[in-house]
């Protein structure tokens, strides 16, 4: 019970974990609840980026404890999170993230994972309930296909910057999502100025969307979204509080 009050305080949790094995067992799931992996390669001469934190957690067998996983790409880093970041060992470690409920990936290069995308993200299929994608790369269908990998997805965040590069690739209309996620939680979209095909495809292929809460900022297609959630929308936020997490 005491531990539950300390879940945001890393130092206190760490101190508690050192008291005895019982306290260690109680604190360790909270200590390893969140794992943020950056793609920056070096800072202060130290290798801190992908996939080092994943390797370290894997060595200690802590990856199954992670409930919230985020891949963060810095503003100065123009690299994408693509298939090139994986080798057989990294993929094996990545696949050990079997309890993740909240998944956030910056600059996800979806086309680079196609057509074997399930091999990389399939293990998240049953557990992920919240997905946040910042500036994902791919056609509307590919993004919808990716969202459709998660059977129990409730919350969705699509975050773009003000400037979105013009010109999108041609859509592959044959791509059909594997699952129809419930999408009954919160939808957060910022600076969405790309083609509304993505929203249309999401509504068509998922048999509608049923979000109860919407967080909208500078979105092309607001009317479409509000109409699609006409029967379910309970809370409308007109400006997100922290769009980039």
């Amino acid at each position: 019970m005491v531990i539950a009050h300390l879940i945001y305080d890393k130092r206190s949790l760490l101190s508690c974990s050192l008291i005895c094995s019982f306290w260690y067992t109680a604190t360790v799931p909270h200590l390893h609840h969140t794992l943020v992996v950056q793609t920056f390669s070096r800072r202060d001469g130290q290798k801190i980026g992908w996939p080092k934190p994943l390797q370290e957690a894997s060595k200690l067998g802590l990856l199954p404890l992670v409930k919230k996983f985020r891949v963060r790409v810095g503003f100065s880093d123009t690299a994408m999170f693509s298939r090139k970041r994986f080798n057989w060992r990294t993929l094996r470690q990545f696949s050990a993230l079997r309890s993740v409920q909240e998944l956030a990936i910056d600059y996800l290069d979806i086309p680079s994972f196609m057509p074997r995308i399930r091999r990389y993200f399939g293990h998240f299929s049953l557990t992920v309930q919240s997905l946040a994608l910042r500036k994902p790369r791919g056609t509307s269908r590919q993004i919808v296909f990716f969202i459709g990998l998660f059977q129990h997805l409730e919350d969705l965040k699509l975050l773009y910057d003000v400037i979105y590069p013009q010109g999108e690739q041609a859509n592959d209309r044959t791509l059909v999502p594997s699952f129809i996620p419930p999408l009954r939680g919160q939808l957060a979209i910022t600076c969405f100025r790309r083609n509304v095909d993505l929203l249309k495809d999401m509504i068509d292929l998922f048999g509608g969307i049923r979000f109860r809460c919407m967080d909208i900022f500078n979105v092309k297609g607001t009317r479409l979204l509000l109409g699609a959630c006409a029967d379910t929308l309970e809370t409308l936020r007109l400006c997100p509080t922290d769009p980039h997490g």
């Binding site: 009317r223 509000l226 929308l233």
Partner: protein, 175 residues
């Protein structure tokens, strides 16, 4: 470049909430310029009034205004997640009081269009929680003293929304 007029036009097209029959709450940040697609505060208030006027939901009851660190004169943020308090000059205090006064005028205008319970929510980091809630309560008290609240426009509720993120695990964790 987006002008107030073009923003207003697209807002009027987008935010027709007449079809949303189960809408309970409308939440906005305490528009200080950038809240609604970077339009001026006066236009933002008018657009919000329009959005409220389109609501037909029978269960709509609440209008929540979020106040973040930059809405408080006495809070400065040197880095993300690290707000700290600073002393306000008398001029800044007066300016902040006037700013709140204007927000309340706008809330009252909105309330004439659509009945709602006003909630002022401090959406700040824990370390400035006490200060921000105190400032909001002081603004409500000042409004009460100046104009007063009644059964038609009751006293707003001041609440705090916890904002916290779980830390990454320590680098050297015992296995």
């Amino acid at each position: 470049m987006l002008t107030d007029r073009s923003i207003a036009r697209s807002f009027l097209q987008d935010f027709d909430l007449s079809r949303n029959k189960s809408l309970r709450t409308l939440q906005v940040t305490a528009w200080s310029g950038d809240a609604l697609r970077a339009c001026s505060p006066a236009v933002a208030a008018r657009l919000l009034t329009y959005a409220l006027s389109t609501i037909t939901s029978p269960v709509f009851t609440e209008f929540t205004a979020f106040y973040q660190e930059h809405h408080f004169c006495g809070v400065e943020s040197p880095g993300p997640g690290q707000p700290r308090l600073r002393k306000r000059s008398p001029g800044e205090k007066a300016e902040e009081a006037l700013w709140h006064r204007r927000r309340f005028e706008a809330f009252r205008r909105m309330h004439k269009v659509r009945n709602f319970r006003l909630v002022l929510c401090a959406d700040v980091w824990e370390r400035v929680r006490e200060y921000s809630v105190r400032v909001l309560k002081a603004a409500v008290a000042a409004e009460e003293a100046k104009v007063g609240f009644d059964s038609i426009f009751p006293e707003p509720l001041v609440v705090y929304r916890p904002r916290a993120s779980r830390p990454n695990p320590p680098k050297r964790m015992l296995g």
